[in-house]
Symmetry: C2
Subunit: 152 residues, 2 copies
DNA sequence: GGCAATTAGTGGCATATACCACTAATTGAT
DNA sequence: ATCAATTAGTGGTATATGCCACTAATTGCC
């Protein structure tokens, strides 16, 4: 059976990354569930919080996320009153984002749950290993990946 | 400015994983674009190919993906005629999946591009580092992450 | 000053992915 | 044989994310 000897998906960096992300995402989501936020939303609120009324473009850049994707992701948070936006007075193209008071409370609640999730995860994986994984992830996120040379 | 000294998102395992996934996903997607497939689709076709007419549940389990999510992801591939499904005669609850001839051709085309993407990526990151990253990702994907102990 | 080029966001569309409620088929226990 | 419990998928709904075409605001250059 030749097919059985083919390399599994274990060889594709992208596939492995996605697979692990699904797994861990579900875990963090589960733990955060009581707050009503998804892990992505908690992360986004946090990112907004630690920024100084960041512009959308700045957030998108930090998160290596498409600007329009950020816009879409922001919508439920605005709808639910956790976040608000306003035009930068110095450059009206720029839209800045901040937490509402209610958003701050919600972030606080979510962060407690996040700490639990994070802690337990690190206990299971090992603090050292988790840190080196994050470092490796940051490295590849920082790569300057030009497209591969045309079909040489 | 106290906020500037707060830990960045760099500390959250989940956030870092997602961030890196977005980055690498875009890269693989770019390289695969000429085939008309997204990297996720190429990965799914490959997974189906190396399986022996796998059941949907089996595919979902391999990929650590929700069964219904797999169903949705499969739809465009079926619509485009790359994949077909059929009921398992021994257990009609089970739906098995296989590539169509056209799907096989398309996978072949995509795999050539994938090899380019993979190769270039590994050249940039280092074969060793990439392999150890994948191993770490596989490890965490294999974790048995029970929910963290209630608010101790 | 005026217009071309650039920059920041938006809205539409498509895929990716999850959860839930529901159906159909099977299995198990009596 | 029967019927409750389990298993495999489906469909709906919601978020996550990307690309593209488009608009508005700015910047640069003459």
């Amino acid at each position: 059976m030749p097919r059985d000897s083919l390399p599994g998906l274990t060889l594709c960096n992208n596939a492995m990354l996605r697979r692990a992300t699904r797994k861990i995402g579900q875990y963090y989501d589960d733990v955060l569930a009581p707050s009503g936020l998804k892990a992505t939303q908690q992360g986004l609120l946090y990112q907004i919080h630690i920024g100084d009324e960041p512009a959308m473009g700045a957030i998108a850049a930090s998160l290596i996320m498409d600007l329009s994707a950020l816009g879409h992701t922001l919508k439920p948070l605005i709808r639910d009153g956790y976040v608000e936006t306003f035009a930068d007075p110095d450059d009206r193209r720029v839209k800045r984002v901040r937490l509402t008071p209610s958003g701050l409370v919600k972030l606080d609640e979510a962060m407690r749950l996040w700490r639990r999730a994070q802690q337990h995860f690190e206990d299971r994986v090992g603090k050292k290993k988790a840190a080196s994984l994050r470092e490796a992830l940051d490295d590849i996120a920082s790569l300057d990946l030009d497209p591969p040379p045309a079909t040489l």
